[in-house]
Structures are given as structure tokens and as C-alpha cells.
Amino acid sequence: MTAAPPAPSRATSSTSGSSAAAEPATQSRHVLSALVIDRPGTLNRIAGLFRARSFNIESLTVATTLEPGRSRMTIVVRGDEGHLRQVLAQLERLIEVLEVGDLTHAPHLELELALVELDVPRDEAARRAIDEAVARAGGHVADRSDDAWRLSFTGRPDDVESALEQIRAHGIRAIVRAGSVAMPLHIPS
């Protein structure tokens, strides 16, 4: 599974009035953030809402927060803006959801982690080439075992994408990507 490259951010001003059926379908990438109650069933309920509207979840991460019993989810979906607005409102009314928002059109920080398993470099030259590529992409070699090397890259999704592109020539065996985590950048007013 490879994640699609991020779509260019769209400068859509929020329109006055919501037009349900008449709205043309615009498939854009959205980064959603939700604060949820950490208990069995929460993920199921949220995923179920996306499924019911035939949204494919591109990535979903969930982990605990500072507050006990609360988890933060970052959900990346691609879909029609109008439909997504309605899904957000439906998410908001779930008992398990404390807050939910679309970060896409607001300033936000979005990072992704990718782990890569490579063949062990055959010689010193190959070893140097990999180290340089990794350094250029801001990654690091996390594991130099005898059977394989394992690299990690952290960055914006498109940076991770290009890092993977640079390393591709060196015998990638497997890639595991974590999906995006995102947080809004609060602009002091």
C-alpha cells in the first residue's frame, strides 16, 4: 500500500449556505483531528460512520493524550467537501467524540513516520551512498543488523514520499508507514 501524494492545499473560503445535493463532487484530501473517549468501541463507531458514507480512510492514527481516558485521532480521508462536512457533524454527535475538526484549511503541522527495511549494503560504497541519502532526507539508520538495515524517516508526508523515492534504488524490502499525525498551529491573535 502506498499513500497517494498530498493534494495541493486548496484555498476554499467557507461559503455562505450549505448546498447539499447541488454541490459538485470535489475529491480533496482532508486531515481531521478528533479528541475521543478512550474505550472499546470508539474506533469502531468512528470508522463505521466513514464506511456508511463510503469514505475510504487513507490513514488513521490514535494514541493517548495528556488527559487520562482521552485519545487523539488523526484521520486522513479523501472525499467530497460537502459530504465530509456532514460526516464531521455526525462524528460530533457521537457520544464517544468530544471534539472533531478539519485541519485542512487552517495552518497545521502534519508529520508522518516511515520505517524502511533494506538489503544490507554489499560494499563500503553502497553503505556510504545510503548514509548520504538518509542524511539528505533527514532520516536515520535505526538498525544495522546482519540480515537487513532498517531506516526511519519522519517528516511531512510529501517529504517522506521523496525520501522513500531517493532510497528506492538501494534494495527496499519493505515499508511500514504510520500515517499522519497533525496538530493545528495556533496563531496568536
Binding site: G41, Q86, A89, Q90, R93, I95, V97
Partner: protein
């Protein structure tokens, strides 16, 4: 523009309600140890529950073992679907919360249709299910099913209670969720050993509830009413579309006051029927796929449409691109996710219908006469005259000695003074009941509007009649829907529930046949329906049963049924060719209605 949500953010806890049980002040009261089943029933009693509709099974036997200790009447239905619909009928007739109970596995699964029915129509109810003991969960034990997983998309909330100490709190939270904001069904699943284990957990105080994610409508004044008042003032052809939400909010009187004071005609959705007395001068009746032509024309010609507490469901809008083409659309709903979902919205107001109507009343001077808008009222009156003169305003078939459903329903209306609780099923019977009973009060028309659940009428009427025993209750059903849940005749007779059941029997799946006739070029398939002799069936159950086959037999049959102190059934043998008109065809709009059968004289 869609208004900012009037919903309390999660970070703003409701006064007097803390999220965490431990911050509640004062010493914790510890209850005397009792088993989970007793804690559960104690919790139900504390919520005011007096009746449970249920069916026992292995996983719920610990509850039945102690049930007689509690002031709760358990109504043993003949099928769990009947229990769920009965609880739904109880809720709709009272505005309270009906309770259904089923065992694990098949018992729980049989509740599903009733839960989905309640969910679609925003009906608060609580379903209690048993499950296998905790050590057996997930091991495909006998009668094990993941009912919480099944119920998730068709309930407002569903959860399994894994800790006996959580039982009292879970019950209290279930009722709070079911009734707060937009109501809906809640399912709680209890493993058998949770019901058997002892707990000292006390009944929770309101401050113990942990529901930070429950949306609570902000109550009080609705500032957006300013803008709505301006829109009304500048409108020449305003129309209110009253939905179920008005009745859920208990705001029918407020709506009438607003309509009168502002001089606005009121059309009704299927579940909005009864909001305004149909004889009220401002009422233009029921609109939609089989609604009154004058109501539909009003929708299509108004310049301001104020939808209150409705979903703009496809059965009322038809093709949304041609719906209310001249109107600015205002949508008032307590659920923000409804606004803009189906139709374009010029002004969305997230508010309880009662709060919005109160805010409007506050802003519309009481002493000024309502704006005349004479041309608009005259136009509606003219449409109405035409509409009511059409052959499909009542088929008129009775004049030829044939028995038609509209005639039967009108006769029931007259006999009951139009104030009985009328519970309809789904299909032609539902449309005939909606069109011809002549509703005069709210909470009188109970129907599965959203899900369209055949088999709803008889069990839901059972629940409604038990809930409000001094109110005459009728089930109006077809021979198809009746045969889906007719096993509940056993419950009705055993409990002597005074329901009158009118079966509009055309020996067909009438609406299926109607669609096949009109849309599928008379290619009839699987719409002919064999059924038993209903009078003999009733008698077999010990139920007073009557039959009417001719118009002159209708009034005597109704009188005979009404004279029964207990339940009664009437089998109305209808002329089989009757269809419901007018009809909006699928994919078409409200301006494009089939007004009558092709072979009828078009005059």
C-alpha cells in the same frame, strides 16, 4: 448561512455535572450489596420505568429471577421485534422512554429492526440485552452474538457493561443519552455473570454521569430568530413545514401560536401530522410523495420555507434540485448534522423547536394583526378546492358499493372523534391513514416514517395502548404488515390490551402492486398475498373479530369493535384495485405528480 453551532463544546461541562465520579463532593454512599440484576432493575425503577416489553432467555434469567421484587410489569411478547416496537410505541405515545429486553444471540438480534425504526424516527428507548458470561465472550459460546457491534449504526449509543459496579451508572447514562438533545435508542448489553455478581455501587446522582461527549442543545433564547423574523416579514408566500421534532419538543401549541400570529400556513411531514389540528385554518395538511396536492403545491410555490424539526427526507422532497424552487429555505433542527444534509439551506438554525418558536413569539408583536398575504391564502384555498374535488380525494368507490380504504379510515376517524391514537403500518395503509383520519392532536399519529418498517403497527399500538390506557388506540395495517407480526395477538389477548386492529385487507402487498402497476408496466410479481381467515384467526386467539366487505358494514363493525372492553380486530375486505393517489414517482419532483389512475376519467 449556516449558523454557528449552538451546541455546548465539550470543554464546557454542564453545571452540576462533573465528568469524573471521583470529584463528586460529599461522602460516597455505598449501597447494600446486591446482584447486578437487582442493581439493573433498581436503576430502571429509579428512571420511572413501570413496564418492560421482553422475552426471557438463558442470559437474562438472572433478571427474571428477581423481577417480581420490583414494581415493574413485564409484558411477555411473542417475538423480540414485537417488544422493540412496543417500547417504541410506548415512547411515542407518552414522550417517555419505553424499555425492551431480550436475551443474548437471536433474542438480541430480533430487536434490531425495532432499534433501527426508533433510530430513524428519533424515538428514545432503552434496550436491555443479556450476553454470555464474560469468560465466554468472543469464544462463539452458545447464543453469543456481538450485539453491540451489530447495534452501533442503528442506535444513538450501544455498549456492553463489563463491570457489575458500573451497572447503576450505565442505566442512568443510557436514559440521559436516549432523551437528551435529539432522542434515540440506546442498547446496553449485560454479560450474564455481571448480572449475577454482587455490587455495592449506589444509584448514581446526576453529577455522577460521565457524558462529556453528549451534545446538549443550548437552551434559552435563539438569537438567529432575529433574522428569521426579518425573512418572514419580507415574505409574500411563507410556509412552515412542521416535522416530528416539533412534537418531540412538545412545541405544537407554540407552533400554532407562531403560525397564527405571523399568518403562516403550515404543511406537515408524515411524522409531523397532528402538530396542527387539521381543521385549523392555517393547516394545509400532509405533504410529500402521497401528500395533499395543495400542500405540495404550497411547497413548490412558497418564497420562504421554514422547516422545523424535520429531515427533508426524500419522501417529502422528491428530486431535491426541483424542490421548493422559489423559496429561501430555513432549516431549524436540534441536530446540526441534519442542516444542509439533503436540501440547500439559506438559514440553518441549530435549536430545539420549542426554543426557536418561543424566540419567534417573543419577537412578533402579539397585538398587530397578522400580515394579510391575501393572494397567497386565496391561492392555497383554490388549490385545496381543486385538490379535494379530485377523484383521488377519497376514491368515491364506496358510492358504487365497493369498499375503499379511504372510506374505512374516514369512518374510523368519525367514530373516534379524530382523537384516537392511530398507529399505522407501512405501505398503502400508512398513506390512507395519514390522509383520511383527520388528525386533531399531536402524539396521535404513530408510524414508522423513516425506516418504513412493515409489521410495526400491531406491536407499537400495543405499547401505545398500555402506555396511555384511557386513550382509544387503533392499529391500521395492511394484510401484509399484519402477517409479519400477528403473533402479538397472543400478547394482546393475554394482557387484554385494548387495541383495535383494523386490517385493510386487499389480499395484496398493495404498495408493491401499485409500483408494479405504475412504474413496472403492470409486471406483477410476488405482490399477491394469501392470508388466513382473519376472523377465525382472531377467534382462535380468543379475540373479538369482525368483518366488513361492503360500505354499509363499516360503521357497524367499527361500533362493535369499540364496544369491546378489550381488544378487537376488524378484517376490512377492500376492493382490490384501489391505489393511493396522488403519487410522486421515484426520481421525480413534487411538481410532477401522478394524480390518478390511467384508466380513470380525467376531468
Amino acid at each position: 448561512m449556516t449558523a454557528a453551532p449552538r451546541l455546548r463544546p465539550a470543554s464546557d461541562p454542564v453545571e452540576g455535572e462533573s465528568e469524573l465520579r471521583t470529584v463528586a463532593t460529599g461522602p460516597r454512599i455505598v449501597a447494600a450489596p446486591r446482584i447486578g440484576a437487582r442493581a439493573l432493575l433498581e436503576g430502571l425503577v429509579a428512571q420511572g420505568v413501570t413496564t418492560i416489553f421482553g422475552y426471557p432467555g438463558g442470559a437474562t434469567l438472572p433478571i427474571y429471577d428477581v423481577l417480581r421484587e420490583f414494581p415493574i410489569h413485564h409484558v411477555l411478547t411473542r417475538h423480540e421485534q414485537g417488544a422493540a416496537h412496543a417500547a417504541d410505541g410506548w415512547s411515542r405515545a407518552t414522550g417517555g422512554v419505553g424499555v425492551a429486553m431480550a436475551t443474548s444471540g437471536p433474542g438480541a438480534i430480533n430487536l434490531v429492526t425495532g432499534l433501527a425504526t426508533a433510530m430513524m424516527d428519533s424515538v428514545p428507548m432503552v434496550a436491555i440485552t443479556g450476553n454470555v458470561a464474560r469468560p465466554f465472550l468472543g469464544r462463539d459460546a452458545f447464543q453469543e452474538t456481538d450485539i453491540v457491534g451489530i447495534a452501533m449504526p442503528i442506535t444513538k449509543y450501544a455498549a456492553i457493561v463489563m463491570d457489575p459496579d458500573e451497572v447503576p451508572l450505565a442505566i442512568a447514562e443510557a436514559f440521559a443519552i436516549a432523551t437528551t438533545g435529539r432522542p434515540g435508542p440506546v442498547l446496553l448489553d449485560f454479560p450474564k455473570d455481571v448480572l449475577q455478581a454482587e455490587t455495592s455501587a449506589p444509584l448514581p446522582r446526576p453529577s455522577d454521569l460521565r457524558l462529556p461527549g453528549l451534545l446538549r442543545p443550548v437552551r434559552g433564547d435563539v438569537p438567529e430568530a432575529d433574522e428569521l423574523v426579518e425573512l418572514i416579514a419580507s415574505s409574500e408566500r411563507p410556509l412552515i413545514l412542521a416535522g416530528h421534532g416539533v412534537q418531540i419538543a412538545g412545541a405544537s401549541d407554540l407552533l400554532r401560536a407562531v403560525a397564527e400570529r405571523a399568518g403562516i400556513p403550515v404543511a406537515h411531514t408524515l411524522l409531523g401530522i397532528g402538530t396542527l389540528d387539521e381543521t385549523h385554518p392555517n393547516s394545509v395538511g400532509y405533504a410529500g410523495m402521497h401528500g395533499w396536492m395543495h400542500a405540495n403545491k404550497a411547497l413548490q410555490h412558497c418564497d420562504l420555507l421554514i422547516g422545523i424539526g424535520g429531515r427533508f427526507d426524500d419522501r417529502i422532497t422528491g428530486k431535491t434540485s426541483t424542490f421548493a424552487p422559489h423559496a429561501r429555505i430555513v432549516h431549524v433542527d436540534v441536530d446540526r448534522s441534519e442542516i444542509g444534509k439533503n436540501v440547500r439551506t439559506d438559514l440553518g438554525i441549530v435549536a430545539d423547536a420549542g426554543d426557536l418558536l418561543t424566540a419567534l413569539l417573543r419577537r412578533i408583536p402579539a397585538d398587530d394583526p397578522p400580515p394579510a398575504r391575501a393572494a397567497w391564502w386565496a391561492q392555497i384555498a383554490e388549490w385545496r378546492q381543486v385538490s379535494e374535488a379530485r377523484p383521488w380525494h377519497g376514491s368515491g368507490a364506496w358510492r358504487d358499493g365497493r369498499l375503499s380504504a379511504d372510506f374505512v379510515v374516514e369512518q374510523i376517524g368519525e367514530a373516534t372523534g379524530h382523537v384516537a391514537t392511530l398507529v399505522s403500518d407501512v405501505g398503502q395503509n400508512q398513506m390512507w391513514a395519514a390522509r383520511y383520519y383527520g388528525f386533531r392532536r399531536p402524539y396521535a399519529h404513530l408510524s414508522s416514517g423513516g425506516l418504513g418498517t412493515m409489521g410495526y403497527a400491531v406491536p407499537a399500538a400495543m405499547g401505545a395502548a398500555l402506555a396511555v390506557p384511557d386513550r382509544e388506540t387503533w392499529a391500521i395495517t395492511g394484510d401484509g404488515g399484519f402477517q409479519m407480526t400477528m403473533q402479538e395477538l397472543g400478547t394482546i389477548v393475554q394482557e387484554q390490551i385494548p387495541v383495535r386492529i383494523a386490517v385493510l385487507n386487499n389480499h395484496k402487498l398493495g404498495m408493491i402492486r401499485q409500483w408494479q402497476e405504475i412504474i413496472y408496466d403492470e409486471n406483477y410479481h410476488s405482490s399477491e398475498l394469501f392470508g388466513p381467515d382473519l376472523v377465525r384467526l382472531g377467534e382462535a386467539y380468543g379475540l373479538a373479530a369482525f368483518r366488513a366487505t361492503k360500505p354499509e358494514e363499516v360503521a357497524p363493525a367499527i361500533a362493535a369493535a369499540r364496544a369491546q372492553p378489550g381488544p378487537a380486530l376488524i378484517d376490512f375486505h377492500l376492493d382490490e384495485a384501489q391505489n393511493v393517489y396522488p403519487m410522486m414517482l421515484p426520481g421525480k419532483g413534487l411538481s410532477d405528480m401522478v394524480e390518478q389512475a390511467r384508466d380513470e376519467d380525467v376531468s
